[in-house]
Subunit: 248 residues, 6 copies
């Protein structure tokens, strides 16, 4: 990852901040995590709402500040601010959010680490419009858009899963596409990453396939995953139409 290189060799910019934005499930967290894992930095830390459930705003703030201050002690550090809208307790109605936490981020994203220390901050969000109106987008030095899966991508995933008859794959991909269900990290990733995808596919695609694999009367899933049987494409259609996708 080039950003990591930049932080490593950087002389003029001890602080590199980068925002990954894209719709839900497009692979932002996976991308940020793999940057952290693939780097050989001493300090890599994910800041996520999962580990702060039920804490007060000010405790969350204190935890976030603590992570930055720990990072300032290492020569090369990465901080991942995962799902920033969730860190901010954002909800569209109102909208409501924690201004205490948003002010903290606005300041931390601009505060330079001490001399000799370099820091890469990666943020992820699926609410880029909201972050922009807070001025948080502008506080990041760069913003990358993580695109969603194309129909061609979906077909490729279905082929790899190998649970449909060859002739059904096109129709299945088409049906999924119409459901507008697929949100996915696309093309620009390297092959190593695509092979990962087979093990942990998109939550929703995976779930739909799994539901279909059980068959109309249940129990067929083992046969299908072992390759002895294929998913009945009509049963797959039924499941798709059962699942109400409440639209905006």
């Amino acid at each position: 990852m080039l950003l990591v290189e930049q932080v490593k060799v950087s002389k003029g910019s001890p602080l590199v901040t980068c925002l990954l934005e894209g719709s839900g499930g497009s692979g932002k967290t996976a991308m940020a995590a793999s940057i952290g894992i693939d780097s050989d930095f001493a300090f890599v830390k994910i800041v996520s709402a999962e580990s702060m459930i039920g804490l007060s705003e000010s405790s969350k703030c204190a935890q976030i500040v603590k992570v930055f201050e720990d990072a300032y002690k290492s020569q090369l550090s990465i901080i991942i601010l995962d799902d920033i809208e969730r860190l901010l307790e954002y909800v569209a109605i109102g909208p409501r959010f924690s201004n205490l936490i948003s002010q903290t981020l606005l300041v931390l994203l601009k505060r330079l680490p001490p001399k000799g220390k370099n820091l890469l901050v990666i943020g992820t969000t699926s609410e880029v419009g909201f972050l922009e109106s807070l001025g948080i987008c502008e506080a990041f030095s760069v913003t990358y858009h993580v695109p969603t899966l194309t129909k061609a991508d979906a077909k490729r995933v279905l082929q790899l899963l190998n649970v449909f008859a060859k002739d059904d794959i096109d129709s299945a991909a088409e049906a999924l596409d119409e459901c507008d269900l697929l949100v996915y990290a696309s093309a620009s990733w390297d092959d190593h990453c695509i092979s990962h995808m087979l093990q942990t596919p998109l939550k929703k695609l995976y779930m739909l396939v799994e539901m279909a694999a059980q068959g109309a009367r249940g129990g067929s899933s083992e046969a299908i995953y072992s390759g002895k049987q294929k998913i009945d494409i009509n049963h797959f259609y039924d499941i798709l139409s059962d699942v109400v996708l409440v639209s905006r």
Copy 2:
């Protein structure tokens, strides 16, 4: 129930989350409860506002988190989040709701159980539009719509109740239909479930029939339920028109 099977056999998706949405009295809670009862999972828990009356937002949060953490200890668990809008203390005016609880749910619905543990979360709501604007719908992997009772369904219920003269059943069903009173879990349920319905019919339908059974001067209800007498269809009409159904 297929979702239960999926959770049981699942390898890729340790967390299955499913939202049942439909109008008041359509049978969502009954459906969720029967899934829980019919499963043979070690841990089945209903989270409902009834057991948390008057608690502070943060105590409610803590209780909900506790239920999830208990579930993480069993290999196969079901958590029913009943009437999510009530858990969120939602009221349309404003609207007002607890953002603390909504943030907690948003995180819990995405947090994976520890390795080897599988969890099915079923939510119910009659305010799907509100949950959508909170982003809670999207946080569930699938959403099912629980439809309301059709006129044909109502007729079938009245036949089973056997309190009207045969010739009056059509008119009674018609009258009810015009009142737009019937909200009901429909067709796709199995027979075992329909027989249940006779013992505990829809609250409102049941109440109207019960009121009519007492007759214009009271006291006739025993005779009617024992089958010796039938409900006077005109008295039934009177009761329907008395009951003011304030419309939106």
Copy 3:
């Protein structure tokens, strides 16, 4: 009262909830109270804002919950939630109201009493539109509209009061009608109830008649109530036009 009968004989519906709505002074509280008095239930309790002046929201909540829990101990109970908008501290500007109390009511109105206990809940309100937007109307199983007094009803009341000359009664009723002052519980009540009305007539009608009875120079009221004198219809007109009825 039929609702009372229903609760008594009920097998399927241990919880009957009924909302009386109508404009101010239409006799909702009187109606609810007389149902309570006329029943022979062991537990009859009025929950009203009068006994909770100045309490905090949470104390009010606790008191309301306490009443329900006490009721669950009797086999047959009636709870009257009088002037629900006042319990909710409702005011149209904003609007403002206690969501804590409204959530409590929403849950209590649906929570079933323990097995073998039957409960009738009667609510009264003159702000049915507000209760509807809270979802409280829908939480009641039935809603009755308590109508206002017609001109014919007013005339009947004036005749019974016997303070006007026979020829003036029509004009007096007409004048009152134009003032749009009369709000009253009407026709469908039984005779026993109408005789009550003579002792405690509508607050406003009563007050106007009383003011008129004092005469232009005061002091004549005793003569009028003792029947020796009649109210001067012109003086009655003067009083009606003096009293500013600020219109919406």
Copy 4:
């Protein structure tokens, strides 16, 4: 005052509540106070914001409730709620006001005194529109409008003050009238009351006359009040035009 008589002789209405509304300075407080003074009731109490400056909402509530409970102990009582909008801490921007106090008043205005005790509550306000939207107007049994001073009234006051030359009185009244300054309790009051008015005229009229009486170079006021000199009408005009009457 007839209301007082009514409370005294009343049998059916132990609680009489009456709202005096009119623009600022129209004499509402004076009217309410004189009713209290002229009555021979044992308990007469004014509830006013003046004696509760800086108190918390709940302390104010407690004080108001205390006054009512003290009144319930006397057989005949009068409570004056002066400047209700000020008691409610009302301000048009927002609007803001104390809902705690407004709920307290809404309940107290309807709560009947114990048997055998009669209570007259007189409220005053110059924000009748606001009180109406709170439902407080409707909570009073009657509302009287206190009208403002007419040009003829003003002239009469100026004649009584006797500080202008006879020929100037018309012009002075005219000038005042154009300034739209005069807000005053009018005609329907008795002579006894008008004679009072000479001692304590309207604050603003009084002030203007006083300013004019000092003359262009000051010091002439004694001569004018002693009748030796008259106010120079042109100087009076100057003062009127100096005083900026910021219009709405």
Copy 5:
């Protein structure tokens, strides 16, 4: 000052309240202070936000009430409420302000001092529209508008400052006028006051002249103020155009 006289000789109006309103820097505070200084009243007190920075609303309230209660002890007192919008913590966005303090002022401005004590209250504000919507303007008995400086006034000031060449004064005044910079207490003040103005001219005018006096390369200011040199009019123009006057 005539208001002072009025308070002194007043018999009928023990409380005189007067609001000075005008745009920022028009001399309101100076005018109010000079009234206080020139009076020979025993008690003269300025209530200003400067001495209450960071205090809570209720402490500010308590301080203001204290000043009034101290004033009630002197026979003749003046209280200056300087920059009322600042006392109220007013900000146009929202708008936000302290209702606690505004209610306190509304009551204090109408509360009469004890018998025999006379009080003059002078308020100043540059947000008269805001005060009006609070009802505070109406609570003052009179409101004076303090006008801004005319071009002629500005010229007169520049002449007195004597830092421009005679021929440049017109152009300088013109340039200032176009900048719409001058806000000033005008004409109606007496000469004694104008001579004051030379020592402490308007903050902004003073500052501009001072900046110009330093010359393009700095250091010339002493020469200019000692009269040995005049300000280069072109340099003055440069400074005027540099200073960005962000317009509404």
Copy 6:
């Protein structure tokens, strides 16, 4: 810096307040800091949100007041209020901000230092519209606009960086210009300052150049900064188009 001179020699204006406003990264903080450093004043202090992360509003207030009170003790002081919108915890949604801090600034910006003490206050902001609606702009005696970098400025910077081939500099500057990326302190600064700029260029320009310097496969950066190689202009274009600049 002339403002510094003015404060030094000032007799009439012991308090000079000056606001620097311009878009993000235009060099406001740098300009303010260099004024402070270049002055020989005893007391120079920067008040910035960075040193107050997570503090409560009132603690921030207290710290700000403390700085002013310390300044009042020195004969010549400079206080830099950096990023005032951040001090105010401003966020555009709502908008929200600390009124406590804004009131404190409004008062401090007008409060005169004690006799004999001179104070220069420099504020910076990139939200001048917001500050204006708070009345904070008006509270400063002058406002300077810090302009953004022109295309010519950018070219000059690129020439000094010497990382592009001579023929590519025009195209690179053009490409940057189209990205609307460059916000910069412009022309009116002296040469001494421009030479500084080479060492610490604009954060964003610097970052882009650094990213490009690494080359398509990484690792070339050293060669480029040592001058052995030039940046491939096409790779520079790629980077520019990768970086999503979410527009308003």
